[in-house]
């Protein structure tokens, strides 16, 4: 029974949240969703659409024409030119777009998808759901804590390893940029190297750019491989409105690529969801048209919260070293000189899968230690791939008072117990 799902795990983030839900007075720095509510203008557009009686029926499988026209215009502002009629699909959140893309691109003889480690925790599971095999390429963490600030090189793609792992079985290389959980923004040079490596192969690049708006570098000019016309048949770019427009629960995003790829992905999208939620499509239209000011406000607030979180980490330099994130809203500190005392944690009520995951994983053990002893939820680094081990992910997308309280608790706990 359930053979297909035996190797598929619930996201560790959700596991942590589930464990936390049983403990009173817990502060979460785990969840990757922004603390803000959806902008008023977006909510009003949805209410208006609801009252107009236009949300009860399916839209076209591609999505509403008007929404796709708006998306085409937004993409053009960023130097990406895609046909709204045939090259853009509105999807039910980025993970649906990712899954549809993976199902469309993975084949029996081409079943490997290269992902970075660390990278978004759900990639590996989505690949398995699509019948593929995740192949990890490590990101290399700089030994200098200033690498991130000085050169945006806190974490670098191991290009040599990537080159070695590309084979005739490679269906795609998939990554988030800016990267979740490290917050690094991959350099244009490195992205172009990836494009070079797949040149002449049948592999695609799946570029997940849900954090593209959250960038804290001065004078940074946003770059995506989807801006390069010669690569349009090789790139499938995915964007979600969950983070940038605080619309995680609306389940709305979009993907775009050359017509040849989109017509295949569309078949899977149709089978999975028929169309993205129509009310969310109407809301997305308002967000893209009128939400820029709100996005700028979010970015400025997250910038401030990043600095607050980093200042706490600076105070905890005996316990952590970290690369200051230039993008997304996560910090991914490395745990040092902490001997977790796992015997203090009661594992009796944990299921076997969880116990298996925890065994031998310092990041899991430390995350649970913080949960049970400091009442702070963080995500164990192993959740983001093997190279994430010995790290934890902290989200500064949470409210400022939660960040301050959570970091105070961690500081107090570490000072008293280690």
């Amino acid at each position: 029974m359930f053979q297909r799902t035996q190797n598929i795990n619930l996201s560790p983030i959700k596991t942590m949240e589930l464990l936390a839900s049983k403990i009173p007075d817990v502060v979460s720095l785990a969840q990757g969703i922004p603390s803000f509510d959806t902008p008023e203008i977006v909510k009003k557009a949805a209410i208006k659409a609801l009252n107009r009686g236009v949300v009860a029926k399916y839209s076209l499988t591609y999505g509403l024409l008007e929404l796709r026209e708006t998306i085409e215009q937004k993409l053009a502002e960023d130097g990406m030119f895609y046909d709204f009629e045939k090259e853009i699909i509105a999807v039910a959140g980025s993970i649906e777009g990712i899954t549809a893309t993976l199902i469309a691109t993975i084949e029996p003889q081409k079943d490997e998808v290269i992902i970075f480690s660390p990278d978004y925790t759900s990639y590996a599971e989505a690949i398995k759901v699509a019948g593929g095999k995740p192949v990890y390429v490590n990101l290399i963490e700089s030994s200098s804590a200033k690498a991130s600030e000085d050169k945006n090189e806190g974490w670098k793609i191991d290009i040599a390893d990537l080159k070695q792992k590309i084979s005739s079985r490679t269906a795609a290389i998939m990554f988030s940029n800016p990267n979740n959980p490290t917050g690094v923004i991959f350099s244009k040079d490195d992205l172009l190297k990836i494009a070079d490596l797949i040149n002449g192969t049948e592999a695609f690049i799946i570029s997940d750019e849900v954090y593209k708006d959250f960038i804290y570098l001065n004078a940074y000019s946003r770059f995506s491989l989807a801006q390069i016309p010669e690569l349009r048949k090789k790139i499938i770019r995915i964007f979600s409105l969950s983070k940038a427009y605080a619309m995680a629960g609306w389940r709305i995003g979009f993907l775009h690529s050359d017509e040849e790829n989109i017509k295949e992905i569309l078949k899977i999208h149709d089978s999975l969801v028929t169309c993205a939620p129509v009310i969310a499509q109407h809301a997305a239209m308002a967000a893209l048209d009128y939400g820029d000011r709100e996005v700028a406000k979010f970015v400025s607030e997250f910038h401030k919260r990043r600095d607050i979180m980093c200042s706490y980490l600076d105070e905890l330099k005996d316990f952590f070293e970290y690369q200051k994130p230039n993008g997304s809203y996560f910090v991914f500190p490395k745990i040092k000189q902490i001997n977790t005392d796992f015997s203090l944690i009661n594992t009796n009520k944990m299921d076997d899968n969880l116990k298996k995951m925890i065994q031998g994983s310092k990041s899991w053990q430390f995350a649970l230690e913080l949960l049970y002893n400091a009442h702070v939820v963080v995500v164990p680094g192993l959740a983001f791939g093997p190279a994430g081990e010995n790290h934890i992910r902290l989200s500064f997308g949470r409210r400022q008072k939660d960040i301050e309280e959570g970091m105070r608790r961690i500081k107090k706990y570490l000072a008293n117990s280690h």
């Binding site: 203008i41 236009v54 010669e230 048209d289």
Partner: protein
């Protein structure tokens, strides 16, 4: 209360826009239809700017009852949220200033959006277009129009109001659009890709990674090759309209 204030605002904006038009007398080109208004408007503006002609168009979706007069006045609220009374008061102040003092522009190129019957009548109460481009008629407001012919009836109102000296530019590939031809008091220009005999025609279309290349044949059978870095048939239509505007308006101005 909010609805009353919105109506009041709408009325004030309408008259301020009319004052601006009366004072500066711009040549008004409107782009009407249910899809592809944006890129056609952008192409027309590009053609005018290339010739050094002063022009202005609407931003984003400022194309209906409130957005259109604001576009005429060149005033933009950062959102179309109608609940922030203070913000709208500021918009009203800026609009009043623009109505009396905003510098004149030679051309206004405006997208015109209707989402219910009689919207067209209201918009035509604000502007008197000299030229109108008609794009497509597709069903996008099923709650207010029972069929596509009802939407076509709205566009009929627009074409009938064009002056004899004006221009009606019709998409020959859309049957409902081309059937508006007989109601036009103005000169009619047609454009298309699929119909057998449009005045302005695109043919030999090829797509490459860099974009699209095609041949435009004008009504007087002159041809020119056009290359664009955008994808989709709607951009070819936009280039065709640009050609009509260049030949029909700019060359004579």
């Amino acid at each position: 209360m909010v609805l009353f204030l919105k109506r009041l605002l709408q009325l004030k904006l309408k008259y301020l826009a009319k004052i601006y038009i009366w004072r500066t007398n711009p040549f008004v080109i409107v782009v009407a239809g249910t899809t592809n208004r944006h890129w056609i408007k952008e192409c027309i503006l590009e053609a005018l700017k290339e010739k050094g002609i002063s022009c202005r168009g609407n931003k984003k979706n400022f194309n209906a009852e409130i957005g259109l007069p604001l576009s005429v006045l060149g005033v933009y609220s950062e959102t179309d949220d109608d609940s922030k009374i203070r913000r709208w008061f500021n918009v009203l102040l800026k609009s009043a200033r623009a109505a009396f003092f905003e510098k004149a522009t030679d051309y206004l190129v405006l997208e015109m959006a209707i989402d219910k019957p009689d919207d067209m009548e209201y918009l035509l109460g604000i502007i008197k277009p000299q030229a109108a481009v008609f794009t497509t008629i597709t069903m996008i407001y099923p709650e207010n129009f029972s069929n596509l012919d009802e939407i076509a009836a709205e566009y009929r109102r627009l074409i009938k109001r064009l002056p004899k000296s004006g221009m009606a530019i019709l998409n020959a590939d859309d049957e409902r659009i081309i059937s508006l031809k007989e109601y036009s008091p103005a000169r009619v220009f047609t454009y298309g890709i699929e119909s057998p005999d449009p005045g302005f025609m695109a043919k030999d279309i090829t797509k490459s990674l860099a974009g699209q290349e095609f041949l435009i044949q004008t009504a007087d059978l002159k041809t020119k090759t056009v290359k664009i870095n955008k994808f989709g048939q709607h951009h070819i239509y936009a280039e065709l309209v640009k050609e009509v505007i260049v030949g029909g308006i700019i060359a004579k101005s």
